[in-house]
Symmetry: C2
Subunit: 636 residues, 2 copies
C-alpha cells in the first residue's frame, strides 16, 4: 500500500521496498512502524553510534490529510543516550513533504566516510556531498541546502555541531523551529556522517473513501473539534506552551534547583505574560493547517543578539534553563535556548545536565579544576552559556556533560548519581511528580526513559476524557481526579493513556489537538484512519494497536536488558517537597511499588521481571516477539 | 439551492426565502448577491439611516470549504458616509458560522424601537432585547451576548458607541478583531437599533462533487498554493500587514501630513520591526485554516493601558493614525487604534478625518474655539486620543468630524474641501497614488469611493500574475510595470483587476491568499466553484461575473447621481510630490482624464457620463438594470 526507502550510507545505495498493507494496518506508521523495523533489524547490543544502528524516519498512515495536528514524523533508532529504544517526534512541514515524495518511511543504515546529505525528490534520491556543511549551524545549513537544490520548498531536517560531535542528546532540527529533540537522534545522524535529509514531493496520496473524507474534513477535522481544548483560550493560543510556567508554579510543581524545590522565586521574570510584554517576543509560529501557533519566536539585539531563526521559548526548554538552574534572567534564558537550537542539542537534557553539574559543584564533587575555571554556582547565567558552547563542541567539562547526566554521574562517582535526574538514562522533564503520582508512574515506565509525552495523566481531568477509550470522566469518583491518588483506577488510566499515546505517536498526530487537551475525539481519529485506508478501523482497534506498539517497544528494551529494576524514579522524589500546595508530599517507595505491581498486572507483564508474557504478546499478535525473546533467553 | 433570512425589525418578523440557483450562479454570493438584492429592493434616494435602507450580510457560494482565505462575509447597504454603494468585508470566524446556520445571507430591514440583537441558531431566529448592551464596547458586548446565550462558540458581529451614535464611518466588529470597517455599515446597524448579530450553526453544506473536493483541498487549497505569495516570507507571515509601512516609506509613498509629504521622519518608531521588538507585541491572530496570522495583537500597561482585545496595529490603521497626522509615538498610535476598535469606528476614516482637522487648524479654518479648546497641532497625540473619544460620542468638535471629512469640509467652508482627502465621500487609503498611477485610477473609479481593495495594480507586477485572466506578466514590456506608466495597457490591467476583485469579493475570499500576493491561481478558484456547485464554471465565467457585479454596483451609484464628474482624485494629487524616489511627480489632470477615457471605453461606459451603456449591461445579462436606469432617466 505504501513504500519505504532504504538508504545504505556505507555502500552509497538506495533501494525501495513495499510497505505491505498488513504491516501498515498492524502498526499504523510512525512509532509503530519504526518499532517493527528496528525490533526485526537491529541485533540486541549494537553500538548506537556504530554502523549497525539504523535510523528510521516514519510518517503515519494518515499523514498528509490537511487538518490541524496531522503533520508529524517520528525519528527512531537505538538511543546513544539511553542504550534502549530511542525516538523523537517533530511536527511542522517535513512530515507531509516526505509523504508527498511517495515514501511513508526512510531507513538509513551504515555509515558514510565523509559528510553527506540526502535529497529525496518525488521518488528520486541522491546522496550528496556535505563536507562544506559540517560545523554549519542547523538553520543556516538548511538554507544553504535549499539554495543548492534550487528549491525553496524543500523541507530539510538537519543536525548541528552537537550531532556532529556525537553529543549524546543531540537533536535534529526540521524546518523552522521544529525539533526531534530527545534521546540523541542527532548523534545517530552524526555517527553516520549524515548532516541532513532534504525532501520535496508533489505526489498526492489517494485515499479509500475520498468523498467521505471531505465530510470529515469539513465536519470534524477542520472544524472547531480540532481546536477546542480547555487549555487553549488562555494558554496555547494566547501565550504558547510557556503559559504552563505559571501553571506549574501556581500548583507547586515547577522544578527548581534541580528538583530540590518546586516554587521559583524568580518566575515572574519568565512567564509567558512577561515574555509577551517584553521586547523579545516577535510572533507565533504554526504547523500546517493549524491556526493555534503554540510556538513563539523571540528576537533581540540587546543584551544578547537573539536570532529569531533559533529562539523559541517553549515551556520545557525555558524551565530547564531557568528555574531548574536558579537562573531568573529571561534574556539569558532565551540566549541559551538559541544556542541549543543553533548547535542542535536538546534543551531539556541540556538544562537538566547543567543543573546536575551545578549541584555537583555546590557539593564539591566538581570544582573549578574540573570545570576549566567556570564558576557553576546556581544561577550563573554566563557560565551556563559557556557550558552550552562547550557541551556542543565537547570541550573540557563539556565533553563530560555531553555524555548526559547518568554517564557523567558514573564518571564523577561518589554521591553524584543522587543528583542525576533521569530515568533509564534520559533526563527528566520539567514536571515535579511528587504532585502528580500517575504521571510519575508513567514517566518511570515510559519506553524512552523519563518522558512526559508517552503518558500524561494527572492534569487531564478537566480535559475532554473519552468514554470510548475506557475512561469515562463523568463516572469518576472525585478522588480519582486527585493528583495524589495512587489507587488502581489511577494506574488503569496510566495504562490506557500509554496505549492511546502509542497510537497517536504511530499516526504521529499532535497531542494538543487530541486528548488530553480536548480537540479531536478518539472516535474521529479512528474514523479518519478507516476513511483514508478503507479498513474497518475502530477505536477498539486503535487502542489495541497502541497496546501492541507499547509492548513492542518494551520488548525492544527487554532485549537491551531493561527489567523491573529500571522502572523507577530518581531517588530525590522520595524526599518530601519543601514548599507549596504539595508541601511534605513525597513519592514513597512502597507506594510506587504498589502502583507498579498493579501496572504490570494490567499490562500482562511478569510482576517479577516486568517482561511481557507470551500470552500478552500473542494476544497482541506479537508471537514473533515472544519467540524472539525466548530464543534470546530474555522472556518473562 | 440556498436560503436567505429576511428580518424586519419594524415588525419584529423573520421570513425565509430560497436563494434560487440561477441567482446564486449569476452573482456567486457576497458583493454580487448584495448588489442584486439592494439594486432591486432599495429605491434611489432613500435615507441611509432611515428604515427604508436595508443591511445585507452575505457569504459566498464556496464559504465554508475549509481552506485558507475562505472565511469572509460581506456587509452591504446604502452608505451613510457616501450616500452611494456601501460595503465592507470582514474575515475571521463569523462567515463560516453564518453559513453553518443554513443561511447564505441575511437581509435586515426596518428599524426597531428599542435596541435589539439577533440570535440565529441552526435556522431558528430570535430578536432579543439589547437595551442593557447599549453603550457597551464592541468586544465586551460580544462576550456578554455569548454568556447570555450560553454558547461560547457563537460568533457575534456588533457595533460600539460610534455605531449607536450614527458616526458616519462607524464599523462592525466580528469576533476577535475582524472588522467590516468602511463606509459606515456600523451606523446603518445603529440606525436600526441593531446592536449585534449572533450566529451559531452545525449544518454542513453538501457539495456537488465531494470526492473531487477532497482532491482540491489536498492538492491546491490546503497545500502551499494558498500560502505562497512573494510578500509573505518577510512580510505578512513574519510581521503582519504593518510590514507595509517600511515598504511605503522606502518607495516614497507613505502618506504623511495629510498627503503633503510622502516620507515620514518618525517612521522608524512605527515599523513592524520596531513593534516586534517593543514591549507591546503579544502575538499573531489568524483566520480559520490559515496559518499566516497577518493580524497582530498588542498589549501594555504603560504609558497607556492597551487591551489586547482591541489593539490590532494593521498597516492602514497605523499609518492613518501616525504618519498622516505627524504622530511618531507608537504607544499613542496603539492606544488610538484600541479606542477606535472599542468604540467601533473605522481607523482609516478616523485618521484621515483627524489629519484633515489638523490641516484646517494649521490654516486657521478651525481654532480652539471650534475645537473645544483642543490644540490640533500636527502630531499632538493627546489631542488625537481625545478627538477619537469625542467623535465616537459626537461631543463638540467630534460631532462635526463624525460626519466624515467631505461633510465636515462643506460645513467649515472656505478652502477646507482642499484638505479633505476623499473620493465620493470616503476617506483615502494610506497610499500616495502619485507614485502609482494605475492604483490612482482604480481608487477614483472604485464603487465605494476611495478604496484600495477593489482595484490594486501597480505593486503587483512581482506577484503571481495570471495569463488566464488576460494579464500575462511574462509578455509584458518592462514599461508596463513602471508604477508611473499610464498607457492603455495599465488601464486595461485596472479594468481586469477590478472585475477579478469584484468576483473575489463576491466569493468573499481573502486577496492575500490569491492574486496579487500569489497564492491560489485564479483557475483553482474557478475549479473550486465548479466542484462545490456542480456548475461548469470557468475562469472566463468568473471574470464575466466579476464584470457583472462591478457594473451592477456602478448602476446602483448611477441611480444615486454618480457620473463622470465623481470619478476623480482629490486636488492635492495634482501637486508634485516634494521628496523621495518620486519627487516632482504629480497626477496631472489631463493624464488622469486620458486614462479615464480609455477606462470607460474598455468598460463600455459612456465617455461623457461614465454610465454603463445598454449594450454593455445586456451583454452582462443585466437587461433589467438597463431598463431600470432608463425608466428612471439615468441611462447613459
Amino acid at each position: 500500500m505504501g513504500r519505504i526507502l532504504r538508504i545504505n550510507l556505507t555502500q552509497g545505495e538506495t533501494t525501495e521496498e513495499p510497505l505491505e498493507e498488513s504491516v501498515a494496518r498492524k502498526y499504523i506508521g510512525g512509532r509503530g512502524l519504526g518499532a517493527y523495523i528496528l525490533f526485526n533489524e537491529l541485533k540486541p547490543g549494537v553500538d548506537p553510534l556504530g554502523p549497525e544502528n539504523k535510523l528510521v524516519v516514519a510518517t503515519g498512515v494518515i499523514t498528509g490529510i490537511p487538518c490541524p495536528g496531522n503533520s508529524g514524523l517520528n525519528v527512531m533508532a537505538k538511543s546513544p543516550l539511553t542504550g534502549i529504544w530511542g525516538e523523537a517526534t517533530a511536527k511542522g512541514y517535513f512530515g507531509p513533504e516526505l509523504k508527498a515524495t511517495g515514501y511513508d518511511a526512510l531507513i538509513v543504515e551504515g555509515q558514510a566516510e565523509t559528510p553527506v546529505y540526502l535529497w529525496i525528490h518525488d521518488g528520486e534520491t541522491q546522496i550528496k556531498e556535505a563536507s562544506h556543511l559540517w560545523e554549519t549551524p542547523t538553520r543556516k545549513a538548511q538554507e544553504i541546502i535549499k539554495t543548492e537544490l534550487k528549491d525553496e520548498r524543500a523541507q530539510v531536517g538537519c543536525i548541528g555541531v552537537a550531532g556532529e560531535n556525537l553529543v549524546k542528546y543531540a537533536n535534529i532540527m526540521f524546518g523552522f523551529n521544529h525539533f526531534a529533540g530527545r534521546t540523541g537522534m542527532g548523534a545517530v545522524m552524526g555517527s553516520k556522517k549524515l548532516k541532513a535529509i532534504a525532501v520535496r514531493g508533489t505526489r498526492r496520496t489517494s485515499y479509500a473513501h475520498e468523498e467521505k473524507l471531505v465530510g470529515l474534513l469539513m465536519d470534524k477535522l477542520n472544524s472547531k473539534e480540532a481546536l477546542n481544548g480547555p487549555y487553549w483560550p488562555d494558554g496555547l493560543f494566547k501565550y504558547g506552551s510557556l503559559a504552563d510556567l505559571g501553571y506549574w508554579q501556581e500548583t507547586g510543581r515547577l522544578p527548581t534547583m534541580n528538583f530540590r524545590k518546586c516554587l521559583f522565586p524568580g518566575y515572574d521574570n519568565l512567564t509567558a505574560e512577561t515574555l509577551a510584554s517584553s521586547p523579545y517576543l516577535m510572533r507565533n509560529n504554526t504547523c500546517p493547517h493549524c491556526t493555534v501557533g503554540c510556538n513563539r519566536i523571540a528576537k533581540a539585539h540587546d543584551p544578547y543578539t537573539l536570532d529569531p531563526e533559533y529562539t523559541t521559548p517553549e515551556y520545557e526548554s525555558t524551565a530547564a534553563i531557568s528555574s531548574l538552574c536558579m537562573n531568573d534572567n529571561l534574556a539569558a534564558t532565551l540566549k541559551a535556548i538559541e544556542l541549543c537550537n543553533k548547535y542542535g542539542i536538546d534543551t531539556m537534557s541540556t538544562g537538566v545536565t547543567i543543573a546536575f553539574a551545578m549541584e555537583c559543584y555546590e557539593k564539591g564533587l566538581l570544582t573549578e579544576e574540573n570545570t576549566d575555571g567556570l564558576d557553576l554556582t546556581w544561577g550563573n547565567q554566563d557560565a551556563m552559556l559557556q557550558l552550552i558552547e562547550r557541551i556542543a563542541r565537547r570541550q573540557g567539562i563539556g565533553d563530560l556533560l555531553a555524555e548526559g547526566s547518568r554517564k557523567a554521574a558514573e564518571k564523577i562517582g561518589d554521591q553524584a548519581e543522587e543528583f542525576a535526574m533521569h530515568v533509564k538514562g534520559m533526563e527528566f522533564p520539567l514536571h515535579d511528580v511528587r504532585g502528580m503520582k500517575g504521571h510519575g508512574l508513567g514517566i518511570a515506565t515510559s519506553n524512552r526513559g523519563a518522558c512526559h509525552l508517552q503518558v500524561e495523566t494527572d492534569d487531564m481531568f478537566e480535559g475532554q476524557l473519552d468514554a470510548d477509550i475506557g475512561i469515562d470522566q463523568t463516572a469518576f469518583p472525585k478522588e480519582y481526579r486527585d493528583r495524589l491518588y495512587t489507587g488502581q483506577e489511577k494506574v488503569k488510566i496510566v495504562k490506557i493513556i500509554g496505549d492511546l499515546f502509542a497510537a497517536f505517536d504511530s499516526l504521529v498526530i499532535c497531542k494538543w489537538t487530541t486528548y488530553p487537551c480536548g480537540g479531536y475525539k478518539t472516535r474521529t481519529i479512528a474514523d479518519v484512519v478507516a476513511t483514508a485506508t478503507g479498513w474497518d478501523f475502530t477505536v477498539s482497534e486503535l487502542m489495541k494497536t497502541g497496546e501492541r506498539v507499547f509492548n513492542l517497544c518494551r520488548a525492544f528494551n527487554v532485549r537491551e536488558g531493561v527489567t523491573r529494576k529500571d522502572d523507577k524514579l530518581p531517588q530525590r522524589f522520595a524526599e518530601p517537597l519543601p514548599e507549596g500546595p504539595y508541601k511534605g508530599e513525597a513519592f514513597a517507595q512502597d507506594e510506587f511499588e504498589k502502583m507498579l505491581d498493579h501496572f504490570y498486572r494490567l499490562r500482562g507483564w511478569s510482576k517479577r521481571t516486568g517482561i511481557p508474557t507470551r500470552d500478552k504478546l500473542e494476544s497482541l499478535e506479537l508471537r514473533y516477539v515472544a519467540d524472539n525473546l525466548e530464543a534470546l533467553g530474555t522472556a518473562s
